[in-house]
């Protein structure tokens, strides 16, 4: 009797078709219950209403390589606005025959970024190669030596300008931010008040007010005869702005350090400077790498605000193409293109930040 029961049990009973495979997945994830089924149907209906016309507009009825006039009569997207003006959109007023220089500089930047992605490459040599890379990029952009014709920075524009403002802005803001964070954590009352005031003041106002300050008040600050060009002034505003945010992030890292670390450093007789440089900051700054990448992302997006003070960054070059009578009215296409560029930049950075966060927290658990 028992044997036969066991016998029937070992016979495999397959689950019903409705619970496995595609059908099972659809039932479990799209049609479990009345509410979810309704949601799915509504969502599919909306997608069906939106996607096919959009696809038709963007790919079927669209034109890619025509003149602006040929675009007027068609129903679809006029992507021609991008290939026809791509060099102006990307490089702005940089001399046409010298475009290879900012192009090469950007390639070096992307190469360095790509190489730095791997944490195994984070050594002293990487730091040196970044410094060398930045110098080479600067020489390429500015020229004037090694037989390169000199290009005034007022002519810099487009994507190189956007990248310069955000990456150089973050690099320069970082040390300032760390100093501010240390000041805020310091035991010296007056210094602390000064740092808190700076950080809260900057974080309380929109970036645009600082950019206004850089473009209209900053010239008043300087003695007569001294002028600083517009790009540098905007860069200073971005640095001052970003530093306050970095300071708050670094403060988070400093607060996460246990008291024991300070006490241990004191016990072996390290002074304040050595305690910070050898014990606290290396640990605190490592914790805050992911939020720092988020600040880089915001800085990258925020550089677009320089449009308002009439610097020719990526967005402004696009706008000036659109103000050309030949290409007027094709804003959607041009803005979508710029949006894709920004999206690619931000998305890859945020993906990297998330990966890093996972790696760092995993490292903490294992040891």
């Amino acid at each position: 009797m028992e044997e036969s029961v066991l016998g029937t049990q070992t016979d495999e009973i397959k689950p019903p078709v409705t619970n496995v495979g595609i059908v099972g997945w659809v039932r479990a994830n799209l049609f479990n219950g009345v509410f979810n089924s309704t949601l799915t149907i509504v969502a599919i209906f909306l997608l069906w209403k939106i996607i096919p016309p959009l696809f038709q507009w963007a790919f079927i009825d669209s034109v890619w390589y025509t003149t602006g006039k040929a675009c007027r009569g068609i129903d679809g997207a006029c992507w021609s606005v991008i290939p026809s003006n791509i060099r102006f959109i990307i490089f702005g007023f940089y001399p046409y025959d010298q475009h290879w220089r900012p192009f090469l500089a950007m390639i070096i930047l992307f190469g360095l970024l790509f190489y730095s992605k791997d944490r195994n490459h984070w050594t002293k040599n990487l730091g040196y190669s970044w410094i060398t890379g930045l110098v080479i990029m600067g020489i390429l952009m500015k020229g004037g030596i090694f037989g390169l014709t000199s290009v005034e920075s007022t002519k810099w524009g487009g994507l190189p300008l956007t990248l310069l403002l955000s990456f150089f802005g973050l690099t320069a803001a970082y040390p300032l931010g760390v100093i501010l964070a240390l000041g805020r954590q310091s035991k010296m009352r007056g210094l602390k008040v000064l740092c808190v005031l700076y950080i809260e003041l900057i974080r309380g106002v929109p970036l645009i007010s600082l950019l206004f300050m850089s473009s209209i008040i900053f010239p008043l600050f300087l003695p007569e005869g001294v002028t600083i060009n517009k790009i540098l002034r905007a860069q200073v505003a971005i640095i001052l702005f970003t530093a306050a945010y970095i300071a708050e992030v670094v403060r988070g890292g400093l607060q996460a350090m246990s008291r024991g670390q300070y006490e241990a450093a004191e016990a072996i007789g390290l002074n304040y400077y050595l305690t910070m440089r050898l014990v606290i900051l290396p640990q605190a700054l490592k914790i805050v790498i992911p939020p720092t990448v988020s600040i880089l992302i915001s800085a990258f997006k925020d550089t677009s605000l320089v449009v308002i003070i009439a610097l020719y960054d990526l967005l402004k070059t696009t706008q000036s193409v659109l103000s050309n009578p030949d290409w007027m009215g094709f804003s959607r296409e041009a803005y979508i293109f710029v949006a894709i560029l920004y999206f690619l930049g931000c998305f890859s950075m945020s993906k990297f930040s998330r990966k890093l966060e996972k790696e760092l927290s995993a490292g903490e658990i294992s040891g």
Partner: protein
Amino acid sequence: MPLDNTDFVEKNLRDHVPFWLDPKKRAIMFEIGVFCMVGLLAYYLVSNTLVNLEKQSIATGLGFINKESSFEIGESIISYSAASTYGRALVVGALNTLKVSFIGIVITLILGTILGVARLSSNWLVSKLASLYIEVMQDIPVLLQLFFWYALFYETMPSPRHALSPIAGLFLSNRGVAFAVPESNPVHKYIFLALVLGCAASWFISRWAKKRQDKVGKAFPTFRVTIGIVVGLPMATWLVFGAPIKMDVPKLTGFNFQGGMTFSPEFIALLLGLVLYTAAFVAEVVRAGIQSVNRGQREAAMSIGMRPAPILNLVILPQALRVIIPPLTSQMLNLTKNSSLAVAIGYPDFVSVANTTINQTGQSVEGVALIMTLYLIFSLSTSLFMNWYNKKAAIVER
């Protein structure tokens, strides 16, 4: 005695350590040095500025506020004309900033909550769509989004003559969105009064109900009763006064709509850009808040026999809100700060009006200072609220 010994050593040290090796004195000297440097820098900048202003013969001080502005502002909540003062123009700008921020915050909260919940939905399609939206919107600069919506509105909407009218009384054209509103009527004042009264009454009722429940343990259907009062009282007032339903419908006269209410394309583009961008961030905040409440909380509440609505109200929300509110307020503040981008598409917010003022009077220092002051007031009041909330919501531990 060791104690005496250390005392002796300390005293000895105090007497013999030169002051530049005493950490306390050194700190004070360092501080004085920093303050001197900051002071010198400030003095240098201020004196340069004053010299430059004098050379360019630009007035200083806030005297311009009482002068005639002589520029028009496209939209305004209070009456304003070119003959009004700069002060009034700035108030108009500040009100416009508040208007777009307030409406924006309300819509963002609703949209962001829906998206955040949708992101956690067990429905695969809905969850994927929500996360796609969040990812894409977060990664595109808000200024670019503003330009996009503005261009879209301007380039694809028909002229007022061929305005789209999806619902009766609503007109979409490149001059903005015009819609019908109830015709102004003295009854509205009473309805508003009734609403205020209703709110006050429900506040008292909920307090009384809580007190009674604490005392005798008897629950009172507070939610249903207060909703009834808040909705019912104005409705009753409206009915008592003969239920006026006449609408003020926008009519096409000449090149534009007259009557009803109109939102300008600039306002719509700004609102759309701010809401769609910030909602993506709010959605992430809401998602994190909901995920922060342990599953066991819901299960425990269910096991002691609570029903779904009280579980949400008394167990889940109080814990989730503690996580949600602080980042949420900072998102609301971000929206308000980002509304300053209005200047790029020509919506007359505070920054835009201040910018015009600067261009006309040349008093850039005062103008930028005013902009910063207004936003500092916003952010200071937000952080005061946050401190109050954090104190109130802090976990009371035994």
